[in-house]
């Protein structure tokens, strides 16, 4: 690939390689956009689309994100925003898992939903969206519920799992699975104006502490529903945790839960 490296270096502006040149390189050398992106990083260059990241994420860290695999469970309210942000952040491998199709009552909040896509499989729409916004990302859509039976296979190789499901049963099961597989889990949940986020590392039982009074039903989201801005808030907090986990930097929401109340505009930290 000496020819490719030369091509990339010749066509870089400073250490930035423009998207058009990345596409050109893929065509010239018969490679995928992901393979060219790998070569861009190997040459010490930065894809120009990440230039506004670079004051907080170095080129080496951007490469680290590109080489990371994140599995997002759920492609609804939380999941839509999480998938969008992970792809824009530059996480190279994204697995989106959900068994549902879009319904009209999703349109008030789910980023991936639109009238034209009602009835379509959520993870398929998610894969299309990621291919549009960052075609160098490898996205794997899985139409399934992630559970005990298939979880080990679905989560294999993940650097991090993101909880974007809509019920406590699935969350506790996911926490068990991630614990067994030694994969960090970023948890988020919402209801109306309210939500919370926490990060659970292997060996920690903080999600079980968080839901220790759960009796088996739904939370107050059953009465409140969810507006557009609450999933976006929780999803953004979750992606910030994923970014720090993948880069091994910053202070994680570990052993603590951040709760937010957008009605009174209050944020609380709860030890777990």
């Amino acid at each position: 690939m000496a020819g490719l490296e030369q091509y990339l270096k010749t066509n870089a502006a400073g250490d930035l390689l423009a998207w058009g040149k990345q596409v050109e390189a893929a065509e010239c050398f018969g490679l995928s956009l992901a393979a060219v992106e790998e070569a861009i990083f190997a040459a010490g260059l930065l894809p120009a689309r990440y230039q506004r990241n670079r004051q907080m994420i170095s080129t080496a860290q951007q490469q680290q994100l590109f080489r990371s695999k994140v599995v997002v469970i759920g492609a609804g309210g939380l999941g839509g925003y999480i998938l969008e942000q992970l792809a824009r952040l530059g996480v190279g491998q994204i697995v989106t898992i959900d068994d549902d199709v879009f319904e009209e009552n999703n349109l008030n909040r789910q980023l991936l939903s639109s009238p034209a896509d009602l009835g379509r499989v959520k993870v398929e729409v998610a894969a299309e969206r990621i291919a549009v916004i960052n075609p160098a990302v490898t996205v794997t859509p899985v139409r399934a519920l992630c559970g005990r039976d298939n979880g080990t296979a679905l989560l294999a190789g993940a650097d991090c799992v993101v909880d974007a499901v809509d019920n406590v049963t699935a969350r506790l099961e996911l926490a068990e699975l991630c614990g067994e597989l030694a994969i960090p889990l970023v948890h988020g949940a919402i209801a109306g104006w309210y939500g919370h986020v926490a990060t659970i590392l292997p060996g920690e039982r903080s999600l079980h502490t968080l839901y220790r009074h759960w009796q088996g039903g739904k939370g107050v989201e059953q009465q409140l529903g969810n507006p557009s801005f609450t999933p976006a808030t929780a999803a953004s907090l979750e992606v910030a945790e994923v970014c720090k986990l993948l880069l091994g930097q910053g202070r994680l929401l570990r052993g603590r839960q951040l709760t937010f109340n957008l009605f009174d505009m209050e944020v609380d930290e709860i030890p777990l």
Binding site: G77, V168, I190, A191, D264, I270
Partner: protein, 74 residues
């Protein structure tokens, strides 16, 4: 005895954010939850002075009980 009760999120609606309330000696968390009409199945987090507790915990004078509803949507 006086107990400070802090309510969060939906539990504030029609009640209060924070209130100093009088309860008899030996009052449990469950008794306060029921006194405030908080549905048991909606309970998320219960904490006294920043530590997680169960419904059976007996309160001592001057303690602060914080009650959060269960949030589980996505």
């Amino acid at each position: 005895m006086q107990i400070t009760v802090k309510l969060f999120a939906t539990f504030r609606t029609g009640r209060f954010d924070i209130e100093a309330r009088d309860y008899p000696e030996g009052t449990t968390v469950a008794a306060i939850v029921d006194d405030l009409g908080l549905p048991r199945e909606q309970l998320g987090i219960l904490m006294i002075n920043g530590r997680h507790v169960d419904l059976t915990r007996v309160l001592a004078a001057g303690e602060t009980l914080a009650i959060f509803p269960l949030v589980g949507g996505g």
